[in-house]
């Protein structure tokens, strides 16, 4: 019996061999960014999958166990994780990653937020007081976030300062070049009218100049009903859109219903790293996003 118990405890502890920093990333895009900036100096755990609705995650036991050992929690913030992260952090018994401490990083803090509601009322659906949290769909937002995240890595692990600076410089250089390239590639998308399934792309629209004319969710977070879809379809006859966008984690049926009747393509975008087989890292995620949008134009 004792031997079984010992083996069991050893098994539990065996996962403990790791790099200098334990990073708990709420979403895959922040895991990918942390990977770019920290390289092999950090071991990174991603709390949600690319095909999970990031609003609807549970405070699973595994998340609490991972947060217990984390040195740094990297999340979107702006209440995106409000349904689960507070419980995970509280239950973790890890004071180093509580909000307000240096081990807690919210990406949304470092960018200009869009769609900050003028009226906070749940009659408006699932609105976020701090603004729309889906900041990762504008590639330009990664520059200030990367800078702030790199500073945080240095603060937590000063012995590798030179390494983190070098990683940041390399990332900045590649990323700026990539933004210029994506900007050129996406030029034909400027001013193109689109509909979206969920209000998930204001930052993408703002960046590439897409013009969002309707949403399939009657209110953010509410399921599209048949009647509401019908009214959107009517509206489309007056103000035609070129395509209907949705994130990979969303049910494709509402988009496809509209696409079929309005004779426009339904375009599924990766939304985060891993959302599509092509979106293997941050660079590939935006490559794929733009390729899919351009394909939707044809």
């Amino acid at each position: 019996m004792q031997r079984i118990l010992c083996t069991f405890l050893l098994l539990l502890l065996s996962g403990n061999v790791h790099a200098a920093l334990d990073v708990f990333a709420c979403e895959p895009e922040w895991a990918a960014l942390a990977q770019q900036l920290a390289g092999d100096k950090a071991s990174i755990y991603t709390a949600t999958g690319a095909l999970q609705d990031p609003h609807r995650v549970e405070a699973r036991p595994s998340l609490i166990a991972k947060a217990r050992r984390a040195n740094l929690v990297v999340c979107t913030g702006a209440e995106l994780e409000a349904a689960w992260l507070p419980v995970v952090l509280r239950e973790s018994g890890n004071s180093a990653v509580l909000p307000g401490s240096s081990g807690y990083f919210e990406a949304a803090h470092y960018v200009v937020m869009l769609e900050i509601p003028a009226r906070l009322d749940r009659a408006e659906g699932d609105v976020h007081a701090a603004g729309n949290p889906h900041v990762q769909t504008d590639a330009r937002n990664f520059l200030p976030i990367a800078e702030a995240l790199s500073k945080r890595l240095i603060q937590l692990d000063p012995s590798n300062t030179a390494y983190y600076r070098q990683q940041l410089a390399a990332f900045n250089q590649q990323w700026r070049a990539a933004i210029a390239k994506w900007g050129q590639q996406a030029a034909p998308l400027k001013g193109i009218p689109v509909i979206v399934q969920h209000r998930g792309f204001p930052y993408l629209n703002n960046w590439l100049g897409l013009k969002q004319i309707a949403e399939l969710e009657p209110k953010p977070g509410m399921e599209p009903s048949a009647a509401y879809l019908g009214s959107v379809l009517n509206e489309l006859q007056q103000h035609p859109a070129r395509m209907v966008l949705r994130a990979a984690y969303q049910d494709g049926r509402p988009s496809e219903w509209i696409a079929e009747r309005a004779h426009i393509p339904a375009v599924m975008l990766p939304f985060t790293v891993g959302g599509t087989p092509q979106a293997t890292d941050l660079f590939a995620m935006f490559d794929d996003t733009i390729q899919r949008l351009l394909a939707g134009l044809k």
Binding site: D53, R60, S62, A65, P86, G93, E223
Partner: protein, 435 residues
């Protein structure tokens, strides 16, 4: 705000700079570029723009939410009748007709960097408030430790800690109703330790006064009840996750009086008995959840089951209200009761869920001392059971409408068909839910 100030300062600096654009030399331009760059850097270093901060007393208002709920119950049998063999247990029962079952007011806030406070008040159907949870919790202990002090729901089992508005069925399983009076609440302390392992493992101990059933509310030095529990859990890939647990509870019961207990003499309306002795309960619980791609929004399945077994041994006084002489007879009494349930909840499309639950109890066979052998029933020869079917619809994350049907065979010879209709809504700040 600070960004705007910096930009205005930059513009003012540029405008006040005495130069003529046409005559500006390369050196001047270079100087301006450098200055703008410096200002940009300062802006970046100044960090995020602070969000609106109204200040004043209101700025520190805690998060307040109000859970609104109402249930309509249609039962054929009187809900006051206990399950067969469980007349000396709790019987929270049901309400017939309309009742404000699940309504509660919740106030939470951080008290200071060390403590967080929670107040949860159930709104009684009569209109008063009763304290359901009033505790402080440490937020900044390290090494995986956390401490809770005050009145709280014990962390034993899986369902015990769940508040009524998060239940998957209108009512608690029979085993919770009879062995824990729906939920074990305690006034005391809870110390929990989370192991620094990849797999979730938590171990906790609670000490309390024994406020909740089966405790008898000890008001003396020392503690009246103790709980030990451990939970272990993990993911299997991204689609499956589970949690399992074991729990132990013990308390010393003093003069626990039960009314309307049936006896061997078939006394009309039963008799009142009093029990004093030790009560020890052990339980196991298991929850498993599955969602395709881990996406809970579309579809998921949740399976859970729990088993509790309680041994009570001490002395029983039969018919304490007996007209003397003879005086009430006291003799030894011990019994082992147990019960279990299994249930599944299936979200078959966004917003719609159905559920099926099967409950079973075993009243055990009591060892009754010789003096009471002719009075107290030792073997009821019946195992109560119940089957419940649930369908609910959630227009949004904050509202839920539910229909529940049950075939209740918990009382021998009094099978009951039960119908419940319920709404549960939450307004205001709404905290995150436990697993």
């Amino acid at each position: 705000m600070s960004k705007i100030i910096y930009v205005s300062a930059a513009l003012a600096a540029l405008l006040s700079h005495p130069f003529n654009a046409s005559a500006a030399s390369d050196g001047d331009l270079q100087a301006i570029r450098e200055r703008v760059q410096q200002l940009e850097q300062r802006m970046e270093q100044s960090g995020p723009t602070p969000t609106r901060n109204s200040g004043g007393e209101g700025a520190f208002n805690p998060a307040i939410s109000l859970i609104l709920g109402e249930t309509y119950g249609n039962l054929r049998q009187d809900p006051a009748i206990p399950a067969t063999g469980f007349a000396m247990n709790a019987n929270p029962g049901h309400e017939q007709g309309f009742n404000l079952g699940e309504s509660e007011l919740v106030i939470t806030a951080n008290i200071d960097p060390q403590f967080r406070g929670v107040g949860r008040f159930a709104i009684d159907p009569a209109g008063g408030l009763s304290a359901e949870d009033v505790y402080v919790q440490t937020g900044a202990l390290s090494a995986g430790l956390s401490l809770k002090m005050g009145r709280f729901l014990s962390g034993l089992g899986y369902l015990n800690e769940k508040h009524a508005h998060t239940w998957d069925f209108v009512d608690q399983p029979l085993v919770y109703a009879t062995l824990w009076d729906n939920q074990l609440g305690e006034d005391g302390l809870q110390l929990k330790w989370l192991a620094p392992t990849d797999t979730f493992l938590e171990i906790a101990a609670e000490l309390g006064r024994g406020r909740g059933f089966p405790g008898t509310d000890r008001a003396r030095n020392g503690s009246g009840a103790g709980v030990l529990f451990a939970h272990i859990g993990d993911d299997i890939g991204i689609e499956h996750n589970w949690r399992a647990g074991v729990s132990l509870h013990q308390t010393k019961r003093v003069d626990a009086v039960s009314d309307a207990v049936p006896d061997l003499l078939d006394t009309a309306d039963g008799v009142s008995n009093s029990f004093s002795g030790d009560s020890r309960t052990a339980g196991v619980d298991l929850v498993w959840k599955y969602a395709p791609n881990g996406n809970l929004r579309d579809r998921y399945v949740k399976l859970q089951g729990e088993y509790f077994r309680r041994k009570e041994s001490g002395s029983l006084t039969y018919d304490i209200n007996a007209a003397s002489p003879p005086p009430p007879i006291t003799d030894s009494f011990s019994v082992t009761q147990s019960g279990w349930y299994v249930q599944s909840v299936y979200q078959f499309m966004p917003r719609w869920r159905n559920g099926l639950r099967y409950d079973r109890l075993d009243p055990g066979i009591a060892a009754v001392g010789a003096l009471n052998a002719g009075n107290v029933i030792s073997d009821y020869g019946y195992r109560p059971s119940r089957t419940s079917l649930m369908l609910d619809f959630s227009p949004s994350e904050f509202s839920r409408l539910r229909l529940q049907l049950a075939r209740d065979n918990s009382r021998q010879g009094l099978a009951d068909n039960q119908l419940f209709v319920q709404y549960i809504m939450s307004m205001g700040a709404h905290g995150a839910h436990q697993y």
